[in-house]
């Protein structure tokens, strides 16, 4: 007879108490509040209460021109700023029918994938921190720092890059960046082996993550959870494949899928995605064409034809979609930002029921939440 890791709802006692996890709590990575109804250390109900850093980006979008809204997009999910800018820029390009020169598209892919790796590295460190392991965070930040240095070298910024422009890029990449990126992909692969020895194969971590927090593919679909969450549930849903954008069809890469649906599956998906991103970067560097990085005919003031336009990208946390409704003015009529963390967190209440507190926090960590992304 061992102590159960899980108590079904029917077997809970009536003597519950309410525990406020957050808005300031080390495990919520920001200002997310989760109202927990607990039976001892088992969770009877977990009710996330977001909105503590709601900034109303969507209203800001209705008050400024397309170009002026561009910096906002990097600030929604600050860990994968490139992808968010890509989605907004893509939506405007789609509506205005701007063709982006190939070199710009390749550079977009390289920088997006670098950003994905850096985002996954932050998640890796922060997730281990949730599980009580400190040192991997520092190793991951060491690696991430190399990416940030590379991206700072071309964009001028370390986090909120705002590098893409309607029709191309802010500026061209230089030789230092290309060489640095090559060095980085060569450097990163042995580091992943080290992470495997230190973390992935570790018996404590495996015991903590395996068969903990199962999320079924059906649940992902009903809640709209995407990204590594749905891929950890056995569904090969990746926007880069299913709704190809930019020049992703040009590259060979696998979509890591693990059918178990537990925290370990989501962990392994992300670690494998780092490898695949490195693969894409290598291919893109090999194939990088010469040429301009800005489309020639981009109007100074962008006015989109009336109608609504969607553009979705695979951000580090899942599907990020922008829906622009235009009324033929130079400012959007409506900007809808579909944030992956929002949908990913929405299944938390159902998924965490009956779990123990540490496991529920492991589940929350495995969803890879960025709170500004939920609150927008």
């Amino acid at each position: 007879m061992s102590i159960p890791s899980f108590i079904p709802h029917e077997k809970m006692s009536d003597e519950t108490f309410v525990l406020n996890l957050g808005p300031q709590h080390p495990a919520t990575h920001g200002v997310l509040r989760v109202k927990l109804t607990m039976d001892g250390e088992y969770i009877a109900r977990a009710e996330p209460v977001p909105g503590y850093i709601h900034r109303m980006h969507e209203k800001m979008g209705e008050n400024r021109t397309y170009a002026q809204f561009l910096p906002n997009t990097s600030r929604i999910d600050y860990l994968s700023a490139m992808h968010y800018t890509h989605a907004f820029v893509g939506a405007v390009e789609r509506a205005a029918r701007i063709t982006v020169p190939p070199r710009a598209e390749y550079v977009r892919v390289i920088t997006s994938e670098l950003n994905r790796i850096s985002s996954h590295l932050v998640w890796f460190g922060a997730f281990l921190l949730d599980l009580g392991g400190f040192t991997p965070l520092l190793y991951a930040f060491d690696d991430r720092e190399k990416i940030l240095d590379l991206l700072e070298g071309i964009t001028g910024s370390r986090l909120t890059y705002c590098y893409y422009r309607f029709g191309g890029l802010y500026n061209d990449v230089d030789a230092d960046f290309l060489k640095g990126t090559r060095d980085f992909t060569a450097y990163m692969r042995p580091r992943l082996d080290m992470y495997r020895a230190l973390v992935t194969d570790n018996i404590i971590l495996r015991k903590r993550l395996e068969s903990i927090g199962p999320i079924s593919a059906e649940m992902c679909r009903k809640y709209g959870a995407t990204g590594p969450v749905i891929r950890g549930s056995g569904v090969a849903y990746d926007v880069r494949r299913i709704e190809p954008y930019s020049v992703y069809p040009e590259f060979q890469f696998d979509i890591p899928v693990y059918p178990e649906g537990d925290c370990m599956a989501r962990y392994l998906v992300r670690m494998e995605e780092i490898v695949q991103s490195l693969r894409i970067i290598d291919q893109a560097l090999d194939q990088l064409p010469e040429g301009p990085v800005m489309a020639e005919k981009v109007p100074r003031v962008i006015k989109l034809p009336p109608g609504d336009y969607c553009y979705a990208v695979e951000a580090a946390r899942g599907r990020f979609a922008v829906r622009i409704v235009s009324d033929n003015k130079d400012i959007p009529y409506r900007v809808k930002l579909r944030a992956p963390s929002f949908s990913n967190l929405s299944l938390y209440e159902e998924a965490s029921q009956g779990m123990m507190l540490p496991d529920a926090l492991a589940l929350m960590g495995s969803l890879d939440l960025v709170i500004p992304d939920i609150d927008r």
């Binding site: 109303m56 209203k59 809640y223 609504d308 969607c310 409704v325 579909r338």
Partner: protein
């Protein structure tokens, strides 16, 4: 995909019988008219119910179904059976036309199909049935939409302010909202 696309279009079309003019200019390819002069106060195309294929490369989704408000749940159930997942629920405030639009975005986890289901509500009494009975994930999206637009989702378990402060009684994404 458990249902073929033609089947899906046929079923969705049954939910939204085209009203007055089925062969309106908006019908076949609404995206092909970027040069439409925007002189009218109401910039959006005139709304006619119906389910139509749109050009993905131009719009970013494949199927656009405009349904009457009472058919929203039915459409959700239909897409659920076809294996779609809920992407997002949001609103658009058409102030000039005195209407509120609710947009339901769906994605398919294994096929490259994006469906937008939308319905128009009168702006004075924006009420529509909740689809959180079909997609539990709609719960949060509808709460957010209620926050921002004041659209009432009938049957929704909890429409208290979500992203806005808990005592908020305003709806900031309405076009007549002044901070």
């Amino acid at each position: 995909m458990s249902v073929s696309l033609e089947e899906l279009i046929a079923r969705l079309s049954r939910l939204c019988p085209p009203e007055a003019s089925p062969a309106s200019s908006e019908g076949p390819a609404p995206a092909e008219s970027p040069a439409a002069p925007a002189v009218a106060l109401a910039p959006a195309p005139a709304v006619t119910n119906g389910c139509r294929l749109v050009d993905y490369a131009a719009k970013g989704y494949h199927l656009d179904a405009i349904v009457p408000p009472d058919k929203v749940v039915e459409a959700a159930r239909l897409l659920d059976e076809a294996g779609f997942g809920l992407d997002a629920v949001t609103g658009v405030d058409w102030l000039a036309q005195e209407q509120m639009e609710v947009v339901y975005d769906y994605f398919h986890p294994s096929a490259s199909w994006r469906v937008a289901v939308r319905c128009r509500l009168p702006r004075q009494t924006p009420e529509v049935a909740t689809i959180s009975t079909v997609f539990p994930g709609a719960n949060w999206h509808e709460r957010e939409t209620h926050d921002f637009f004041g659209i009432q989702f009938v049957g929704h378990p909890d429409l208290s302010p979500f992203l806005l402060p808990e005592d908020a009684d305003y709806h900031p994404l309405r076009k007549d909202f002044v901070a």
